[in-house]
Point group: C2
Chain length 128, copies 2
DNA sequence: AGAATTTATTTTATAATATAACAAATTTGG
DNA sequence: CCAAATTTGTTATATTATAAAATAAATTCT
């Protein structure tokens, strides 16, 4: 049995939205296998690739996990702050960083296609 | 047979310095196994953890690979530009980004401990 | 509309990355 | 020098990700 990509994508996004913490691809897979036992890893990875490409989800590169995008997705530079204690993620718009990032790239005539900005630390709740 | 951590660290750093592209942990392992066949993955990962903690190497979180630090290592924000075509990495000092990153963290009283900034794109040589 | 072709999706299998748990050696403080 | 603590090494396994083959849907052409 086969599902349309768009359907898969909203299914995966639903799962992400039902959790308030970032999920690994395999955590998503386990969740979705409840209702659809045949499902396997590549389906999840392909779907996540599409979602991140569209800006509807973000990958946290430093912890190999995913969150749904909750910013206006036209943002050129998503900034993801990850609490190392509770793993909560806050998403900020980093558009203001763009001029400086661009300046750095231009130092060596580097042509940027994607900016990755993540902050590790402690969220308000966990910081005593 | 056993080696002091400091010696391991400079051995690993030597290997990183002998290559002009980022190396995965297993690429380093393979290289070092030539002279020391018994060597295993955890030794490499432990050594890399120490080196990155000391700021003598950087992990590229978005590609799971490592480069030696070539900046002044007191830099608070290393910026790593990765060419998606040839994989060359340029290291910049992103100290100038710190005020804005701090401002973003303060929006939600987040206490940052580490900033990760990576740029994907094409280096001067590969960009036509 | 129906067969042929193409494209997209799923499945199976496996590769690449990382760490847990245990064992052995070295160092350190008495 | 001996015992405890620590560091390093080894084995085994967990986690993350993707390649390749198989299958299903969609498209195109007549």
């Amino acid at each position: 049995m086969r599902k349309q990509a768009a359907t898969r994508q909203s299914d995966v996004l639903d799962v992400l939205n039902q959790h308030d913490k970032p999920m690994t691809a395999y955590a998503i897979l386990d969740q979705m296998k409840v209702g659809e036992p045949g499902l396997a890893a590549p389906t999840i990875y392909r779907t996540l690739a599409a979602l991140t490409e569209q800006g509807r989800a973000h990958k946290l590169e430093s912890i190999n996990a995913f969150v749904p995008c909750r910013c206006a997705h036209e943002t050129s530079v998503p900034v993801l702050a990850i609490c190392e204690e509770c793993l909560a993620v806050e998403e900020h718009d980093g558009a203001q960083l763009l001029p400086q990032l661009t300046a750095l790239s231009q130092k060596s005539a580097f042509e940027p296609t994607r900016h990755i900005v993540e902050i590790h630390g402690r969220c308000q709740t966990c910081a005593t």
